[in-house]
């Protein structure tokens, strides 16, 4: 009796099911695999990276190991102009990328979904006020806003998360709202209302589960946005100088004349990592679109 089995499974399983991960789409599975590889790398960074990413290294002859080519003296991807190991920086970069990506995406999806739910369900002036706020958020140029914010706050990776939470909920909120508007008038919602369910119960039990995949979709887009934004901000020199991220590596390479030195081994790998993680989000998104909007048939 499969129905009973589903009904009896625990909350984590039900939650997992309601995400409706697009496991039958090849692209989406590929994207999820990329995520998996990066998560494992971030968790075991200490074991994978041969050196401390900020340690200044020396050769066996006690010379500074600066600007080593890949493979030279055993450095897999060479070293920076300050004698730091590029490969180790790359490995540790997964940590800040995933940390920022996941927290920012969570914030964006959470705030966006809440605003969308409340706005769509209650309508009236609540809706009017929240949607005008979304209009204002659409009027704020995002990257310049993060830069101006950096002028006042201490350099930290959380600035990007804060700015995203303040501005980027707008897209999610609008989409979730319109979805809630159609759900609100469905028969089973009316039935729940007639049966005496409270607003809170209707929202949490009958509407929220139906928008969860949509929240997750926007969350996976936001992961990419967060990583790209962090890279841009670090590249412009407003990042946290204490933490090693891919954006920091690119800024370091750019400022240390890696382009003129033709040190591709230094600045190409971080860019490729960013592309992989961000496009993984896109691929998952495409898989979701096939599930959520089958008529698109893309």
């Amino acid at each position: 009796m499969p129905e009973l089995a589903i009904a009896r499974s625990g909350l984590p399983t039900r939650l997992f099911r309601s995400l409706r991960l697009p496991l039958n789409d090849r692209f989406a599975v590929f994207g999820l695999l990329i995520y998996l590889v990066f998560v494992v790398t971030a968790l075991f960074a200490d074991q994978i990276a041969p050196y401390d990413p900020t340690e200044i290294l020396y050769t066996e002859d006690y010379d500074l190991a600066a600007d080593m080519r890949p493979g030279q003296e055993g450095f897999i991807l060479g070293t920076t102009s300050l004698g730091r190991d590029v490969f180790s920086q790359l490995v540790y970069g997964t940590r800040s990328a995933l940390l920022i990506g996941v927290t920012a995406a969570f914030m964006v999806a959470l705030i966006g979904s809440l605003v969308g739910l409340v706005s769509g369900y209650f309508g009236g002036w609540t809706d009017a006020v929240l949607m005008r706020l979304a209009d204002i958020a659409f009027g704020i140029p995002f990257l310049p806003f993060v830069i101006v914010l950096a002028a006042f706050l201490e350099p930290s990776i959380w600035n990007v998360v804060l700015a995203m939470a303040l501005v980027l909920w707008r897209d999610t909120a609008r989409v979730i709202r319109s979805q809630v508007l159609t759900l609100r008038s469905r028969g089973y919602v009316d039935a729940a209302r007639v049966a005496g369910s409270s607003d809170a119960k209707i929202i949490l039990r009958h509407i929220a589960p139906n928008i969860l995949p949509l929240s997750f979709l926007y969350g996976s887009i936001a992961i990419g946005w967060a990583i790209l934004t962090e890279a841009s901000i670090s590249f412009l020199g407003f990042g946290d100088p204490e933490s090693i991220s891919w954006g920091y590596m690119l800024q370091d390479a750019f400022a240390s004349q890696a382009l003129a030195k033709q040190a591709y081994y230094w600045f190409v790998p971080p860019g490729l990592c960013i592309i992989l993680v961000v496009s993984a989000g896109f691929f998952i998104t495409r898989g979701y679109e096939n599930i959520l909007f089958p008529k698109l048939g893309r």
Binding site: D135, P141, V148, A151, A231, F235, Y264, F267, I275
Partner: protein
């Protein structure tokens, strides 16, 4: 009439958004930690300069009065004195605006010309091997950090092959005589090539994917089937009937893309030392030149909001089916 009314109410709505953004900016710069006067007065200004600015922006008055003065000054285009350049902010940012707009429009026109053609082609070749390879590549270009793409192009075409200059807008000591002389000179175009290409590669994905999905929708419509039944050639059906109708939403997305591009410009201008608005914003923030940072941000925000408005109006103008509820 309904159109005009809708257009007016949309304009009014966006004017309110602009006012809100201006207010947020005011609060950010006034309530920041430290001396509230730091938003306009640099300690190295002379006593007379400091007093003049105090009076002009009412910095010794209560916050609400400062706010009124701030709005009044804004309406007159008065943004204060830049700390670093010792000249009015408004003059400085307006002088940089043409560089940014030239870069933005050049790259977007290239991106849209390519994206529309390629998108239509991919829709027509639906399900082919070309499509299976092309779509993931396009998605990958959307996932690239723009400045990284700029770095790679710079390393290859400028530092390795030496085909293009590494940054700036013109060779030292060159004089072109006037506006058109500058913007059509081969020297300037050589400086423009790499940053414009970088932004174009990043931006072509949006028109391409939009054009493709619109084409796929339009191809299913009755009038296209009708054209086919009439025995018109594939070329006539695809180009004269389907593509023309699929083009409308793509064109309105151009205005939105200008707004997005202005944000991407910030990093690309920095990579190529392109003297535009975005690079100036970055440099102003690094140097704590608050009036200049405020002015540059405001000008970018104004263009973004204006472009959103143009996109909205164009959309309802070009597609009468859009309701004005």
């Amino acid at each position: 009439m309904a159109h005009l009314k809708a257009a007016l109410s949309r304009t009014l709505q966006l004017a309110l958004v602009l006012w809100a953004v201006v207010t947020i900016l005011f609060l950010m710069f006034r309530l920041m930690p430290g001396n509230p006067m730091a938003a306009y007065i640099d300690p190295t200004f002379t006593a007379e300069q400091q007093e003049a600015l105090m009076a002009q922006f009412g910095l010794d008055k209560p916050l609400w009065e400062q706010y009124v003065i701030y709005l009044g000054n804004l309406l007159q285009g008065e943004l204060g004195q830049s700390f670093r350049y010792r000249e009015p902010v408004a003059e400085r940012i307006l002088a940089l605006l043409p560089n940014t707009l030239i870069l933005t429009f050049t790259s977007l026109i290239i991106a849209y010309a390519f994206g529309i053609l390629a998108g239509a082609y991919l829709a027509w070749r639906r399900g082919s091997a070309v499509e299976k390879v092309a779509i993931p590549i396009v998605l990958t270009t959307r996932a690239m950090p723009e400045f990284w793409l700029g770095m790679v192009l710079l390393a290859i075409f400028s530092f390795w092959l030496g085909w293009f200059p590494a940054g700036g807008t013109r060779s030292a000591g060159s004089d072109y005589g006037g506006f058109w002389g500058l913007y059509t000179s081969p020297d300037f175009l050589a400086y423009l090539a790499l940053p414009a290409l970088t932004l174009a590669i990043y931006s072509q994905g949006l028109p391409l994917l939009l054009m493709r999905s619109n084409m796929l929708d339009v191809m299913k419509e009755d009038f296209v089937t009708m054209a086919r039944i009439k025995g018109l050639s594939t070329w006539t059906v695809v180009v004269r009937h389907a593509a023309r109708n699929a083009l409308l939403p793509v064109m309105t997305s151009f205005a939105i893309a200008v707004g997005y591009q202005l944000q991407g410009n910030v990093v690309v201008e920095t990579v190529f030392s392109w003297p535009g608005l975005g690079r100036e914003l970055v440099r102003a923030v690094s140097a704590s030149d608050y009036p200049l940072a405020q002015g540059a941000f405001l000008l970018i925000a104004v263009v973004v909001i204006l472009m959103n408005l143009i996109a909205d109006l164009l959309y309802s103008l070009l597609d009468p089916r859009v309701s004005h509820a």
